[in-house]
């Protein structure tokens, strides 16, 4: 979801940029092993939520840029909604106690 969100906001990013973007936006609260990003990207490619094409970075190196597809946008909306539902529920429970 986070990856999709970042891609949706920036249009297209390569792996390193996604990792950085997530870190920055979350004020470095969400720190994961950066490597785990890549299996996730592969799965999303497979599901057809993102497409990838090779481009060149600012530093003039070959990099694979990911871009969300229509299906990816739909998936993002669905996941955000799902997340908010769960989150809302947890909120209610916490308030009730």
């Amino acid at each position: 979801m986070l990856i999709l969100k970042m891609l949706a906001r920036h249009g297209q990013l390569h792996g390193y940029e996604i990792a950085n973007a997530i870190q920055q936006v979350s004020d470095e609260v969400l720190q994961v092993e950066e490597g785990s990003l890549y299996p996730a990207l592969q799965r999303m490619l497979l599901k057809g939520w993102v497409t990838a094409e090779w481009g060149v970075t600012a530093g003039n190196r070959r990099a694979r840029y990911y871009r969300p597809t229509a299906a990816g946008h739909k998936q993002l909306l669905a996941e955000v909604e799902q997340y908010q539902r769960v989150n809302g529920a947890i909120h209610k429970i916490l308030r009730a106690v």
Partner: protein
């Protein structure tokens, strides 16, 4: 749609895998490099920055692994690995593999063979349009199978209950123009027959309704196989002719290869319209005969209607139909009964099968027997696998120690089991095809050669694959579960000779006890069926079956006027009697142990029947010398003689049963028996003989004199008793009859063959149950041998110590056998209980033996006990021959 795209991407990955891996690697390298560059920019040293970047990235190899997994072929990859590994393991143990595959092949092959026959005659739907909608119209309390043509015409012309109706009758047509018959399997069909069944013609056309009207031209539709056989599958066959019972029929069409008629036991060669019947039976056509029961009538329930609705409508039609078809020749009270009849409808989606009707119980019994054999084979393989699992324990421990999950190891073991089952099934299918044909051939008789379609259909295939999967789970899962329940450390640490986990061993014991029990059931069954066959073979039929040749001579098409038949028969008789090698000859209308019969209600002098069935007398009409030829003893009075002609008083000879029932202890000679309008005087009493079947109860039989028949029948049987092998008489007999008239149709039968073919079903059941019983016994012996050997190996050290301390050899043997004896006792007890329970189910297949006969049960138990004790004794004695010192040193 999405799935398709996903699959496409996966496939691309599959074939371009290396490029994908390469891309991923490059991408990750970039990531780490950039991160390091950022670190450097933040003031770290180059190598420290690199290291930090790596740390933050995590395990690159694992990431790559996981990414690959995401593409999802890993499961198939690892499965392929399993198969490869499994094949290697199986190849490494050729002895084990061969034993397992062979026993599975036998088990699955036998199951598939029996099931394919069961399927063909009882389960498979007819390959016609909507077979579920087909119902047969039957009438009367007993649901008579065959009805009359007048009834059919009524049903056809008034039918509102069905969307289509048809009638047919199977028959045989002689394609030869005289001499020995060359029979074609024929069908009488109504005009709508093919149309209602939805059977098109592959060449030419099928009949139209108009072609089944009185006075139709002789036309024929032939079957695909007949077309291939007799016309080489040539389209020019249409318009050609076939000769049937001396008449020419024009071929108008050919049916598709999948249509074999409505009878499952044999296909058909030619079909001709019912309206052609007068052409073949000019003198005595059955078309308007209201008491000639020969047609099966079927209807198709209209789509969207229930069977019940069709039944209602037939019920409403019934009174009219019966009023229009009541047989005038019936006595008045029978006519009244006839009018009270009703129709009932029977679904016939699976067609008609005599084999199915006759062998139903036998087939299901055999199915159960081969199922049990398969179970025993499974138990054996499970035991072998258990033993092997013991030997492979270290292998499993190592694999689990380096991180294979238990599920993974179980999967590996199950793959091996499935491979075994797969090989067994493949071999079994081959065996089944061969075995099924063999069995059908075995059940074929000279009179009715069977031609059952045993081709594989989805149901048989599903059955076989299901059986394979079930067996794989049965024999594979338990050992796999047991084998992987290891405490790693213990096994790794020690050199474990005695795993001391009694649990697994108990499973093995339970398996062997189960095997013993199941084998006992099969042995008991084999004993019962063999006893049945022995009793049937020993039955005194009342006549000799050896050296008797029966010649069925049909003069119907020979152009002999009815008045001259008797003379022709007499001439044939004289010529046959004069043949060298013929000891005696006689003639009769019927011969014993055939499906035909003739019975009538009689009025014996001074006797009143208590129930209608009691007054029934089975009949035959015989020439003088018939009893002498058949060696049926004459007990009282005299045989027919030349004096018993048309002018003499009508005479009858009865059998003992009839004499006893009608006249008790009184002398029956000279008493009279009334039948129809005539009174017959009893001139003799003969010994009881079997009429239709060897296993029938005593029947009342009467014999009339051939010379007192008002009109000689169109067919007569000549019975010759020979001094030479009966088959050698055939050419001379054929020539002799040919001299009288070349046009007479002939069939030759050996009475011994006829009798033994009537016992085919008990013979087949006895033979197969004996074979499978022996197989089961063998498997149980192997099982016991295996488990005793295993015990001996496991307890070698203990035995050595005992022997070193002075235990005598006998004591050692007994020590080893004690466990086995317990197993055997438990198995036999369970087996006896199961046999008692199962015995009730097969009572209808038994003759002269009781399923609960203690001698039978104990006999089978004794055979089993001795055989298995021997199997266990061999390895136990090996224990006693042990050299204690060598064994202890090894320890």
């Amino acid at each position: 749609m999405i799935r398709m795209k996903e699959l496409w991407r996966r496939l691309r990955y599959r074939f371009l895998g290396a490029r994908f891996d390469h891309d991923l690697e490059e991408e990750m390298r970039l990531h780490v490099d950039l991160r390091a560059a950022d670190g450097q920019a933040a003031g770290l040293a180059a190598d420290a920055a690199q290291a930090a970047a790596r740390r933050q990235f995590g395990n690159a190899t694992q990431v790559q692994e996981k990414s690959r997994e995401a593409w999802g072929w890993t499961r198939i990859d690892s499965w392929r690995q399993d198969v490869r590994y499994g094949l290697r393991t199986l190849a490494a143990n050729p002895g084990f593999t061969a034993t397992a595959v062979l026993s599975l092949a036998l088990g699955i092959g036998a199951n598939t063979a029996i099931f394919s026959i069961l399927n063909a005659v009882l389960l498979r739907s007819l390959p016609v349009e909507d077979p579920q909608g087909l119902v047969q119209i039957r009438m009367g309390a007993e649901g008579d199978d065959e009805l009359t043509n007048p009834i059919w015409e009524q049903v056809r012309d008034r039918q509102t209950a069905f969307s289509g109706a048809l009638a047919y009758a199977p028959d045989r047509f002689d394609m030869a123009d005289g001499g020995e018959s060359h029979n074609a399997t024929g069908l009488w069909v109504s005009g709508d027959f093919f149309r209602v069944l939805g059977v098109p013609a592959v060449a030419g056309r099928v009949f139209t309704r108009e072609e089944d009207r009185r006075g139709t031209a002789p036309l024929a539709v032939i079957s695909y196989s007949f077309w291939k056989r007799n016309f080489d599958g040539n389209a020019g066959a249409i318009g050609k002719t076939v000769r049937l019972n001396r008449h020419t029929f024009e071929v108008v069409g050919v049916t598709p290869p999948w249509f074999r008629g409505l009878d499952r036991d044999w296909g058909f060669d030619v079909a001709i319209p019912i309206a052609c019947e007068p052409i073949l039976h000019a003198e005595r056509s059955s078309l308007d005969e209201r008491a000639a029961w020969w047609l099966r009538i079927l209807g198709r329930v209209p789509e969207g209607e229930s069977l019940e609705q069709a039944r209602e409508r037939m019920r409403a039609l019934a009174p009219e139909i019966f009023r229009a078809t009541v047989p005038g020749i019936f006595p008045v009270d029978e006519q009244r009964n006839y009018l009270k009849n009703s129709f009932f409808l029977k679904p016939v989606a699976t067609g008609f099968s005599e084999v199915g009707a006759q062998y139903r119980t036998a087939l299901y019994t055999l199915m159960a027997i081969v199922g049990v054999v398969l179970l025993i084979a499974c138990a054996n393989i499970a035991n072998l696998l258990l033993a092997r699992a013991g030997a492979r324990q270290r292998e499993f421990s190592v694999r689990m120690a380096i991180g294979a999950g238990r599920a993974r190891v179980i999967r590996q073991l199950m793959t091996e089991s499935l491979l075994l089952a797969g090989f067994g099934t493949a071999a079994g299918l081959l065996l089944a095809g061969w075995g099924g044909r063999l069995l059908v051939h075995f059940l074929s008789t000279q009179r009715h050669p069977l031609d059952i379609d045993l081709s594989l259909d989805p149901r048989v295939l599903a059955f076989t694959i299901g059986a394979a999967l079930v067996t794989a789970v049965l024999f594979g899962l338990a050992p796999a579960l047991r084998a992987t329940r290891v405490e790693l450390n213990q096994v790794m640490k020690e050199h474990t000779r005695t795993p001391a986990r009694s649990g697994r061993f108990n499973l093995g014991k339970a398996l062997v006890a189960g095997q013993v029990a199941l084998s006992l059931v099969l042995l008991v069954a084999a004993g019962l069926f063999l006893g049945t066959l022995r009793n049937l073979l020993a039955v005194d039929a009342g006549f000799t079956r050896h050296n008797i040749l029966i010649i069925a001579a049909n003069v119907e098409q020979a152009g002999i006027p009815a008045a001259k038949r008797a003379g022709a028969y007499r001439e044939i008789s004289d010529r046959l009697r004069a043949l060298p090698g013929v000891a005696s000859a006689a003639s009769s209308v019927l011969t014993p142990i055939s499906p035909e019969g003739w019975a009538q209600m009689v009025r014996p002098e001074g006797w009143v029947s208590k129930s209608p069935g009691e007054a029934l007398l089975f009949l035959n009409r015989v020439s003088p010398g018939y009893f002498a030829t058949m060696r049926t003893p004459l007990l009282l009075g005299r045989d027919f003689g030349d004096g018993d002609g048309m002018k003499a008083r009508k005479a009858i000879i009865v059998n003992e049963s009839a004499a006893r029932q009608f006249f008790g202890a009184a002398n029956p000679i000279g008493k009279t028996i009334g039948m129809d309008k005539d009174e017959y005087q009893i001139i003799g009493v003969v010994k009881d003989t079997k009429y239709n079947r060897i296993n029938e109860n005593g029947r009342n039989i009467g014999y009339l004199a051939a010379g007192q028949d008002a009109e000689a029948p169109p067919q007569l049987r000549f019975t010759l008793r020979a001094d030479v092998p009966v088959e050698t008489l055939i050419p001379a007999a054929r020539a002799a009859i040919g001299e009288v008239n070349r046009g007479i149709s002939l069939e030759f039968h050996n009475l011994e063959t006829q009798v033994s073919e009537s016992l085919l079903q008990p013979r087949a059941v006895a033979l197969l149950s004996a074979v499978f019983g022996l197989l089961a016994l063998l498997l149980a012996m192997v099982g016991l041998y295996g488990i005793t050997s295993y015990t001996v190996t496991r307890r070698k050290g203990e035995v050595a110590i005992r022997m070193a301390l002075g235990a005598p050899r006998d004591a050692v043997v007994w020590l080893m056998l004690r466990d086995v004896a317990v197993l055997l006792a438990v198995g036999v007890a369970m087996g006896l209980a199961a046999s008692l329970a199962a015995g009730r189910l097969v009572t209808s297949l038994l003759f002269g033996v009781r399923p609960r006969d203690p001698a039978q049960l104990l006999g089978a138990a004794a055979i089993l006990a001795v055989a298995t004790a021997v199997a266990a004794y061999v390895p136990a004695r090996r224990a006693a021959r042990l050299d204690p010192m060598a064994a202890l040193r090894e320890e």
